[in-house]
């Protein structure tokens, strides 16, 4: 057994999460567990067939009663598989021998009907305790374990699958063939449908059993983690291996288990845990001893009380039954009033519903017409400053937007805000790409923008943007602020790029596509939208972008801190939602 090969994630969990972990385990190991279950059922079922004299009802009861016999091998197998030592099915006979021991006997006799069966099985079978110690241990672990819930739930799951199977069979047998008599399947133990029903039950049981056993096992482990910090103990035991080559950080897990591997046998888990004996544990949750006695006297006191006289009130109850006779005459009047009220309400609701329906239809019609005929109805207010070809048709010198942006960038440079200047310039680059008809989807990264630009414009044409992107990425991700001269050079490049590269024909639809992205609906990001010379406006716009917000925030980031991964700027989703 190797401690560091434990196959579940150990940590403190709530009761339901422990159950879920068990179910996840059962799912992961289902084929083996299922096969193992059948392997242990088959001999018992055959034996039961002989014992019961082929009577279906007795057979069913016998097979049901010996359920712990099929669950014990699963518990045994799980205790191995948990530490990365799944025993192959070939070894099934050995497994059965190892699992069917004397310790199982109580669970087949007087403990068969306990509601916490799958939870107490691991305690009884694996911990190697007996007598008083076992009882104390069981009591301690069972508190608040939720094991009875598991049994109750799995019992119902079984019933649902069993009933579902029967019902599905009932519906699926085509007419003409002898149909499945559902009544006989449940009541008449002499009929063949009863055998079918018993078989279905066995099948349902086989599906649920792995989940039941694993659930119980996970509850057991969870309880130990809670009470004894079992997960910490495992972690501490692993330390030895990891720190043995002192100083070197490289863990060498395998050496750890050399010692532990010697410990085999059913009690492996228990030995590993160095079970310290009940007194140490009981202390945590021990109840004061005299309490049961006090409770007993209290109970007798309560029992001696006159509380039981109340049962006689039943006779009074029939008396009250006569009273309606008195009311009977008044009832029609009262009833009539209600009837009138109903009619009035009915009329009111009828009118209301009719009005609502008409109003809804009218609104719908208006909406349809508005959306359908462009221009005829009140158009939705579009952002006033759409880039409608002004930039495209003009050269850089005459373009107020470009000039405006250049001015804003220079202003920032002059103010020493290199980051802001480059951010603005990069935005300008993106805006220009959009304007050239490059459709930039939501949340594209800088790299993706560059790819799109290169695809659409060609590598040479996109070269200025490439440089700009490089600078920008260096600033945003590596905190390398470029020299102001570099930024000035980029600005000159950008002006040349937007001026020379602009195509003369405007693309009215290209800008529309942009309208879908949240960035553009939020404000008018294109610099043409800003009044000339107002760098504070540009500032605002950028602040709104959220892009810059994150960059700025980054600047003030903890000195020893790791960098943050930034994806580009997807604005919040609600904006996208409301674009329509």
């Amino acid at each position: 057994m190797e401690l560091d090969r434990i196959t579940i994630a150990l940590r403190p969990r709530g009761v339901w999460e422990r159950l879920d972990l068990g179910f996840a385990l059962a799912r992961a190991w289902f084929p083996t567990l299922w096969a193992l279950w059948w392997l242990s059922v088959l001999p018992v079922a055959l034996l039961a067939l002989l014992l019961s004299g082929a009577r279906a009802d007795w057979w069913g009861i016998l097979v049901w009663w010996f359920k712990p016999l099929y669950e014990a091998p699963l518990v045994w197998w799980i205790s191995r598989a948990l530490f990365g030592e799944p025993v192959p099915l070939r070894a099934a006979p050995g497994m059965l021998r190892a699992a069917w021991t004397r310790r199982l006997l109580p669970y087949l006799l007087w403990r068969r009907l306990t509601a916490r069966r799958s939870f107490v099985l691991p305690i009884g079978l694996l911990e190697g305790l007996g007598g008083k110690a076992l009882r104390a241990r069981r009591r301690l672990l069972s508190q608040g374990a939720g094991a009875a819930w598991l049994t109750l739930i799995c019992y119902h799951f079984e019933a649902i699958l069993w009933g579902g199977l029967l019902l599905a069979l009932y519906y699926m047998i085509p007419e003409g063939l002898p149909g499945l008599d559902l009544e006989a399947a449940l009541t008449d133990s002499q009929s063949w449908p009863y055998w079918v029903s018993a078989g279905c039950y066995l099948l349902a049981g086989s599906v649920i059993a792995p989940f039941y056993v694993c659930g119980g096992f996970a509850l057991y482990i969870g309880r130990r983690t809670e009470l004894e910090a079992w997960d910490l103990e495992l972690a501490f035991r692993r330390v030895h291996a990891a720190s043995a080559p002192a100083g070197s950080g490289a863990p060498r897990p395998r050496t750890a288990s050399g010692r532990a591997a010697a410990l085999t046998g059913l009690a492996c888990v228990a030995v590993l845990l160095a079970w310290p004996g009940p007194p140490a544990h009981a202390k945590a949750v021990r109840q004061p001893l005299p309490e049961p006695e006090a409770a007993r006297t209290l109970i007798t006191e309560v029992l001696a009380d006159d509380t039981f006289g109340h049962t006689r009130q039943r006779s009074v109850w029939t008396y009250i039954g006569e009273e309606p006779k008195d009311r009977e005459p008044s009832k029609p009047r009262w009833f009539n009033a209600l009837g009138d009220l109903a009619v009035i309400l009915g009329r009111a609701f009828k009118a209301l519903l009719a009005v609502l329906a008409v109003a809804a239809l009218a609104l719908l019609l208006q909406r349809i017409l508005r959306d359908w005929q462009p221009g005829s109805w009140r158009r939705r207010a579009r952002p006033a400053a759409r880039p409608t070809g002004t930039v495209a048709s003009l050269d850089a010198a005459a373009d107020p937007g470009a000039a405006d942006l250049a001015q804003a960038v220079r202003a920032r440079l002059a103010a020493g805000d290199a980051r802001g200047a480059l951010a603005l310039l990069y935005r300008g680059g993106i805006a220009h790409l959009r304007h050239r008809g490059v459709a930039i989807p939501d949340g594209a990264t800088e790299g993706e923008c560059l790819h799109l630009a290169a695809d659409h414009l060609g590598t040479t044409e996109a070269a200025p943007f490439r440089q700009l992107t490089r600078d920008w990425q260096a600033l945003a991700y590596a905190q390398r602020t470029p020299e102001p001269q570099t930024i000035a050079a980029r600005l000159a490049d950008w002006l040349r790029w937007t001026g020379v590269g602009a195509e003369p024909e405007p693309r009215p639809n290209g800008s529309r596509q942009g309208a879908k992205t949240p960035r553009e609906t939020k404000e008018s990001p294109h610099p043409t939208g800003q009044a000339p010379g107002e760098s504070s406006k540009a500032d605002n716009a950028l602040n709104n972008l959220g892009v810059l917000a994150s960059w700025r925030e980054n600047e003030s980031f903890e000195a020893d801190g790791a960098d943050k991964p930034i994806r580009v700027p997807t604005a919040t989703r609600q904006d996208a939602d409301h674009a329509g």
């Binding site: 879920d20 996840a24 910490l232 972690a235 035991r237 330390v239 140490a280 790791a562």
Partner: protein, 259 residues
Amino acid sequence: MHIASAIGPRTQSVPVDTVRLNETPEGVDLGLRVAGPAPRALALIADGAIRAIVYLVLSPLMVLSGFGLGLSLIAAFLLDWLYPVAFEVFSGATPGKRSLGLMVVHDDGTPVGLPASLIRNLLRVVDFLPLFYGVGLLSTLADRDFRRLGDLAAGTLVVYAQRRPRQTPGQTGERTGAALLDAPPRQPPLGLPLATQQSILAFCERSDHLSAPRRIELAETLLAHLSASPDGRTDTRGLAAVEQVQGYGSWLAQGRVGD
């Protein structure tokens, strides 16, 4: 350094767990703790009980003859079909789910929206077959994330809502447990792997919930395994061992400043 790459080292084979990691746009992994069939079945029963109570409360409507009958039919329709949808869209979970600490989310962890909620609840028709969610049960048992067919089609998960911290997190010092702050710091052995450091911190945090003998036992175990001798014997035993480990924790948490 990219944060997403800084997740702790995983063991060779990924251990079975019920947590699904979901990377947010900020680059951190949020854990969604998916809920299995057992709590979901109980939530379903709780919801059934709530609906039954609402039916009972509405039954006096019948007095209003036809009108009342109409109203109760509409109520029946709403309860049958839209009860889960309304609760899921507005507050993330039906009252039954809420009582068990569950909620419904998209599989990226965002709150469930109207379309997804409609899909998953209308497809209950199929999950319910052939008897009391038989198909749904099989599907939840078979799926890694415990999803029934409706969840699969809608792309939703049923997860545990956030856990309330055991102590009120008003003061940060309070939460980490007294042991972290009180014990005089002691320098742990050099070259302690991060995982072990974290276990020591966890020990300090949780030692209040352990019985005293168990605490001692755990501390002794750690010290025994820390000591270089393969036999695992140390001089420090008993309460001294606990103090020493808590000292390690204190040192790991705040350095020497405590001195």
